[in-house]
Subunit: 353 residues, 3 copies
């Protein structure tokens, strides 16, 4: 499996997928995890593997804020410690499963896969949640039989819009012929692109020529946050092609949040939302955008799963980066650098308390 | 694959599954085996792999008491020796497949997987067959995508009844809170348990309080033989909680025979029968019991196959036995001891004739 | 995977499977290959793996005689060289995929898997194509979950007709009891067989006794070309059992071309045609033959896939050749000799130009 950054928040589910009192099985970085909301509303994420005989706790039963394994009845506290063993008074000291930091933000359930002591809520990417009053969003998710990294690579190089999405998003050849602006971020890359004197893309057509702007951040571990909008003709030049203010857009502002989660080797889940800003469209436009996205994300899945299969039968084959791979390269090196730092830190002697 | 005892009789099929003159493919301990009843009624079990080009003999044709490979026509004697090769007069001396001791007892077909010289019919566990006149039995079998040992473990610790079968067999929490009596046997473990002043379990309710008794032997290689019955209130105390006589039961006597066969790594077949003793119920009760068992054995399968999947992704994970694991431990050590003795014997120099 | 000869023409498809301008994905010797007919009619076979990020070119788009990868738009020349990279002017010198010699003959698409410099059209086996005016042929293909070598073995020993095809082709026991004549060829083996005073096989019955002749060549890499026909009683003896002239047959002449292609390890495609010679039958007979072949080839597939499964669980098991295996042995040794010569040649130092 590809190396991923562990000290990061991974999307495990849509918040509404977690029903009260019902354990939810998740898999992140090939670790089985059970997530539940206890009676008090507290959200808990535990290793999904009973210490007794390795049965999955996700087949268990919520009791208050605790979770009971329904094989032989071991009861777990929210911190992962075994609280009771039927037929036995003594509970071994090391009888506990791993507990993961977990947070419910922007209508996603986020799980911190690294050192719990370093779990920092400020590192949760600023996605736009489904309940955000400024946007009218549709949403969905898609499972891939492909390594998450391949989906990240896809999202880090939008030149594929011209080819993979020739019949859906409808970006023309000029999209692939021109390179976007790139700006490295502390935990990602920022892309931006002006298209001047255009009538827009299929998602936001304009009857008069306009300047169209789109920008997205792609952030650790694999979260894409993109907005785009239409500006009066000449805006790009006036700004010397710098970033405009979102509020100055005259029309066509949409936002999409996307998250790629590595479930395991060659297994990934892709979460996404998309829709217009209030005042820039309505439920009908949202539904049109989601229909278009449904087609387009299916095109990506077809290509990437086929790519995975070719990779699987090509041991030793190397890739040949092109000019459009600059973003991929920046992000890949960032991941490698952070992952390497983590494994060095993990091998350090314990700090003196 | 887990180590199993080879010098043991494994259930390969229900007797009625073997149609006269029709080769039956079986798999035990990952060895392909073909079983058939010859014209004379003789039952034969051979290695299911032609010496010529390794085609399965189970696709072959019975000819008298012999079996012909239907790829290129080699003919096999019941002892595994090649009796004829089309187009060729000379038959090489070593042209033979392995023949397994096989027996038809208690309506099960048993195959001895170890040294044929040690095959002892007395070691066939005393199951109650479908045709036993004292019982009215239903039967079935279920395939598991799980290691047989996990099913054995399950049957060696009935505290799971309280949790896995909370909605079917309906054993209450007291079942898991109390430990059964255990007695090591030469080739297994005996469990027994009095429940006093009870109204019975869902399989044998009583309108007045009674003492309920259940006992089972779990025998090499993985055979469970259990009976239970209701006794007048006070019987347990009167007997100082020792075993009662089966014939003294006033009601509710049922018997179940169960056998777990390792087909191969993480593949198992679970055979079972259950029903009332004559005078303790009728066909209707038998059908009710089988319906209940159908639900309950499905609950086991769901849990154990899920457990297998967690184990598969948890290399190096260890189990943490509880008080209820005493029977599991006794049986596991017995298996390890017998399996080890077998492999030592197998590596000894040949005996002087 | 079994060793196969690389310097050979493998059947990749029926010619009519290739639609103009539509890339066709093939797999031979576990190499992914894309085949297409360009606008000019030129047939092209390339490695099905873009140099950029290993996406399959078979999901690409034909543009004239070129092929464009539809992931990020790299454009390929028919010789495998990258002709254009969107967003980038410089094309690296080594940016190319492998191009395979390819030919359209006898209504099959043939791909040369070895050294392109040695590709010799004269080595294409002289199959009878679907469009041959002398024959009325039906055709089909069948995929096997089995190693191609096992299908070759099957076709190199027709004694299986007596057993596998007891209920379809209807060859009697005498077929397996007698050996055919064999003649080694430079790139294969020739089988021939007279059956005298017979009423023919189910594919060519005769009301009066006749002498029936059949002969086939089995050629590298795995191509069977067979004809058979009925001759007046006494012909075999008159010819001292030598080969008769095809044109002297009085009735019942049919021809079948068959090709076995190793797609990958334990994955094969079996192509076949069969039908009467003009004057020896009509479309109705062709359809009868194809129906019979449909049943018989299904019998082979059942047996061979079952054989493969037994082999898979029998590491170290050896075969025991019989008298009928002479053809198998001759062909297997030829393959081994040619394959060994190829790998020696491949390790020689480059020739001085």
């Amino acid at each position: 499996m590809t190396a991923y950054v562990r000290n990061a928040w991974y999307v495990a589910a849509w918040s509404h997928e977690l029903e009260a009192g019902k354990p939810f099985p998740a898999s992140i970085l090939d670790e089985p995890i059970v997530i539940y909301r206890g009676e008090s509303g507290r959200m808990v994420a535990l290793e999904d593997r009973c210490v007794h005989r390795l049965a999955p706790l996700s087949l268990g039963r919520c009791e208050g804020d605790r979770l009971r394994c329904m094989y032989h009845g071991l009861l777990y506290d929210p911190d992962g410690a075994v609280a009771a063993i039927p037929g036995q008074d003594l509970i071994p000291k090391n009888a506990r499963v791993k507990a993961y930091p977990v947070a419910d933000r922007h209508d996603w359930v986020w799980v911190w896969m690294g050192d719990p002591a370093q779990a920092d809520l400020a590192l949760i990417p600023p996605a736009v949640g489904l309940s955000d009053p400024d946007y009218i969003l549709g949403h969905g998710h898609l499972d891939y039989a492909a390594e998450a990294q391949l989906i990240n690579d896809n999202l880090l190089d939008f030149s594929h819009l011209t080819y993979v999405h020739a019949n859906s998003f409808g970006a023309g050849p000029e999209f692939a012929e021109n390179l976007p602006r790139l700006e490295p971020l502390e935990r990602g890359v920022r892309f931006s692109r002006w298209m001047v004197d255009t009538h827009g893309q299929s998602s936001r057509k304009s009857s008069v020529p306009i300047d169209s702007y789109m920008t997205y951040d792609f952030l650790i571990p694999g979260v894409l946050l993109m907005w785009s909008g239409n500006y009066p003709q000449g805006t790009a030049k006036k700004l010397d092609f710098a970033a405009p203010a979102l509020d100055d857009a005259q029309a066509g502002v949409t936002f999409t949040s996307q998250a790629v989660t590595p479930l395991g080797p060659k297994q990934s889940r892709y979460f996404f939302s998309w829709g217009p800003r209030v005042g820039h469209g309505d439920e009908k436009l949202r539904d049109q955008l989601m229909t278009m996205a449904g087609v387009a994300f299916g095109e990506d899945k077809t290509m990437i799963e086929a790519q995975q299969k070719v990779i699987d039968r090509s041991p030793g084959a190397r890739i040949m980066p092109t000019a459009h791979d600059k973003g991929v390269t920046i992000f890949t090196r960032l991941v490698e650098r952070l992952a390497k730092a983590e494994s060095s830190a993990a091998s350090l002697p314990e700090k003196v308390a």
